[in-house]
């Protein structure tokens, strides 16, 4: 009994914090950077490992996210990912997911073992996939790291999209039984390409040929 009471007290204590977390508004899009704290080259040591198991590795980019200043003065926020070692090419998918109104303005640089850029996919390689933009690629032999970096030409651009959808609910009848109720609704999704957002990277083998 005392144990149940302790659990109840614990839950009561945690509930307001959980509620506050659930109701917390995501931060507004970050579209400017002073760049004072930016490094001169992205650090390979910070790379997060991506398994070859179709499991997403997620990074939330917000104030204080790593950034680097290129030789031409361009500032980019970034997240570094270490790609799986494999003798066979495989598929890497980079998703930039909406967080509030922020969509990380992503481009992808593929780096070799020494951090040299061997391929770059600009923001035009991305397509909308629902509430995210995504780009997939087949890896090539020298590519060891995927550097997902902000595209300075895209940051600050806005767009809005119509999002129609069907919501399902239902009603229990007085005499028993259940009636499904589907209704059509729509909203306007407002998007700002930003230095902030959520980036998810995954890797999976190429499907076997028939």
């Amino acid at each position: 009994m005392a144990r149940v009471e302790r659990l109840a007290r614990l839950l009561l204590g945690v509930a307001p914090a959980a509620l506050a977390l659930a109701c917390a508004k995501p931060p507004p899009p970050t579209v400017t950077l002073d760049g004072d704290a930016c490094v001169s080259a992205p650090a390979l040591a910070e790379a997060r490992s991506v398994p070859l198991e179709d499991k997403e590795v997620a990074v939330t980019l917000e104030a204080g996210a790593p950034c680097w200043r290129a030789d031409d003065g361009t500032i980019s926020v970034y997240a570094m990912f270490r790609l799986p070692q494999s003798a066979e090419p495989y598929i890497v998918t980079v998703l930039s997911e909406l967080r509030g109104q922020s969509l990380f303005a992503a481009r992808i640089l593929l780096l070799d073992d020494w951090g040299k850029t061997v391929r770059e996919l600009g923001h035009d390689a991305f397509n909308f996939r629902g509430a995210a933009t995504g780009a997939s690629l087949r890896t090539r032999p020298d590519e060891r790291y995927a550097l997902v970096a902000s595209d300075p030409h895209l940051v600050g651009r806005h767009l809005s999209q119509i999002v129609p959808q069907v919501r399902s609910s239902g009603a229990v009848l007085p005499g028993g039984g259940y009636v499904p109720i589907n209704t059509g609704v729509e909203e306007i999704r407002t998007i700002t390409f930003a230095y902030s957002g959520i980036v998810k990277v995954s890797a999976r083998p190429l499907p076997q040929e028939k």
Partner: protein
Amino acid sequence: MRGKVIAAVAIAAGALTMLAGCMMPEIPYDRETAGGIKHVGIVTPHFHPEPDVHLASSVGQSFGLIGALADVGLKAERDKRFGRILQQANFSAQEIFTELLANDLRARGYEVSLIAMRRDKDFVKSYPVHTPPAVDAYLDLYALNYGYIAAGIGSPPYRPWVWMRVRLARAKDSAVLMQDTIVYNPVIGATYTKAVTIPPDPRFEYRTFDLLEADPAGSVRGLRTAIEQSAQAVGKLLK
């Protein structure tokens, strides 16, 4: 009556099939390493002769089989009436899509041939091997749906809708070089999370089907825009 019951069951089964179909994994194309794909043969894309004018949620859905039967009848009537509009406008979704796609691919540096084939609502089972013209790869496409869709009655209006699958297969060994799903005006949200989605153009919307029917020129133009943007999305996957 029996036919309508079968139709209702078929629609329910079809919806499930469509949901399952959405899970087709995306395979990205790498033009540089694909093995010299310069000449693409577009296999006659499949578009059903009659368009879909779909109401994604309706009162009928709350009333079991009877409601489903009513929905089937209403939808068939809308399909037929919009089909008539397309016919009167001499509008063939398949021909327009093929032409726009061929132009898009040529602009991206591909040589393009049209490969006439009779086919169903699925990818082609086997591609021609020794039939001229000799192409490097076959671009195989079929529309699951095209026409107009509304999320519900009244408030979310009817807007153009295209839902298609695309595959590029190497001619010499049928290896899949690219495959994806494209949806213009994705209404059934979660169903399309892995597809390339194109939000609808707000210029083309009709609060009711009667209003859509009363504007044949505008409704055809709306569908053409959806088809055009879908063709561009396919081209982009092959850049």
